[in-house]
């Protein structure tokens, strides 16, 4: 590998390869620190178990509010994990290097957010059926619930990435991040639980799912732009 020592005129590593690199590296780092992986999951489980304990263990209550509880819990665990999305990388300088990579930043941010979802959102979707059974939800509702979580949790990650990027250098990070993001999460929450309620009421859920799909497409395409802009701002300030 002899150095060419003249301005390179091509970007030899393709965008897709670079995005793959980002995902692989983030997954690697997460699996090295398993407690980072498990924390959101444990949190999710705990929030869900708190309701039978703290509110009421009655089957009718749980059946009625189970899907709402699972959704709120999923939302909160995503929120909890968002603080880590960029902060470690910011502190150790990896983020600077990401911004300086010769690929469009918003694609790299997209890859990073995707990795975040794979680590925090997906396990939660996989765990949801178990918890749903514990909350006495019915088979059909459980299937719909998991489907809405599967569509909805990436939306949460992507919207959240904007907040994480905006609050990056700031000391009051965690709480501030939640303040900025929770209002934006509300439509997802409403339609997520709404879909399950519609299914339980026997209505057709096609339209609801289409709407959630629209949220997903919107957030995946737009949020990385906003996050990339916010990251540049935060880095300028550090």
């Amino acid at each position: 590998m002899t150095a060419k020592l003249q301005a390179a005129t091509t970007v030899p590593v393709g965008v897709v390869a670079a995005m793959g690199g980002v995902v692989r590296r983030d997954l690697q780092a997460s699996f090295r620190q398993p407690q980072d992986l498990l924390n959101p999951l444990l949190f999710f489980m705990m929030v869900v178990t708190l309701f039978p304990l703290g509110v009421s263990p009655e089957e009718s209550f749980l059946r009625q509010s189970g899907s709402g509880i699972l959704w709120v819990a999923a939302l909160l665990s995503t929120l909890l994990s968002l603080d880590h999305l960029f902060r470690h990388d910011f502190d150790n300088g990896t983020l600077e290097q990401l911004v300086l990579q010769p690929q469009p930043l918003y694609l790299l941010v997209l890859a990073k957010t995707l990795a975040h979802w794979l680590v925090t959102g997906l396990p939660l979707v996989l765990l949801a059926p178990v918890l749903a059974v514990m909350l006495h939800l019915e088979g059909n509702s459980i299937a719909i619930l998991c489907l809405t979580l599967l569509i909805g949790t990436p939306v949460l990650s992507f919207i959240g990435s904007v907040g994480a990027a905006l609050t990056l250098g700031l000391r009051s990070g965690g709480v501030l991040l939640s303040l900025l993001i929770i209002p934006l999460y509300i439509p997802v929450l409403i339609f997520g639980t709404g879909t399950v309620a519609a299914a339980a009421g026997g209505a057709s859920v096609g339209a609801y799912l289409a709407l959630m799909g629209a949220f997903l497409v919107l957030s995946v395409t737009l949020a990385p732009f906003a996050s990339a802009a916010a990251l540049r701002i935060s880095l300028s300030n550090s």
Binding site: M1, A3, K4, L5, Q6, A7, A8, T9, T10, V11, P12, V13, A17, A18, G21, V22, R25, Q28, A29, R32, Q33, H88, D89, D91, N92, G93, T94, E96, Q97, V99, L100, Q101, P102, Q103, P104, L108, R232, I233, L235, S236, N237
Partner: protein
């Protein structure tokens, strides 16, 4: 090759109400080593981050190979190697994984090359140790290993010599002047007395009239 790599004109930057520099112009030619000097708090880091495109809170113009940098961001970044105060090393990954990650978006390198680069900075035997278990100087060496396999012409290094022992400092000095001799450009800050033949200096003098 007389075309300047990087050219900045009329840079002005203020931080918390204090003007760090004003009307600063500079040209980075190929085959030069430039040292940015000044006491603590003069604005060296800020200047380097502006040149690297990390800090956008400035006014003035930056050109890359004669054209505005903003218009060719990706090409510029492809040709720039920046190492800052914070080195870009993830504590959870091993030395080799870290180096691979840093090279990922740039050019393809084989595992053997990565190990050779690590060995070149004195980390033979530490390739598979998580970086959280390396000492301060060893962590910097992981970051500096990039220099050994870089094909970027422009190097911008902030406090490049921090935490290195005497051998490390001498070896790095040689590497930097080699890079300049072979046509590359180096912009560097350091507080130890770096003296390289033909070194250029940019001196930042703090202006103490703070409001």
């Amino acid at each position: 090759m007389s075309k300047p790599l990087l050219q900045a004109t009329n840079l002005q930057c203020e931080r918390d109400g204090r003007v760090l520099f004003d009307d600063l112009s500079l040209t980075i030619m190929p085959a030069t080593l430039t040292r940015v000097e000044g006491p603590n708090g003069a604005g060296k880091t800020t200047l380097l981050r502006i040149l690297a495109g990390l800090n956008e809170n400035y006014s003035g113009e930056v050109h890359w190979l004669g054209a505005p940098r903003a218009a060719q961001r990706e090409m510029f970044q492809r040709n720039l190697l920046y190492i800052g105060h914070r080195t870009g090393i993830k504590a959870a990954l091993t030395a080799q994984e870290n180096l691979a990650a840093l090279m990922a978006g740039r050019h393809a390198v084989s595992a053997a090359t990565l190990r050779a680069a690590l060995a070149g900075t004195g980390l033979a035997g530490y390739e598979d140790v998580p970086c959280s278990q390396l000492s301060a100087g060893q962590q910097r060496r992981v970051a500096l290993a990039r220099l050994l396999i870089s094909d970027e012409p422009l190097w911008i290094l902030d406090e490049a010599f921090t935490a290195l022992d005497t051998h490390g400092v001498a070896a790095l000095e040689r590497l930097l002047s080699d890079h300049a001799q072979r046509g590359g450009a180096v912009v560097v800050t350091t507080h130890h007395d770096l003296e390289v033949p033909g070194m250029q200096r940019i001196r930042l003098v703090p202006d103490k009239v703070a409001v």
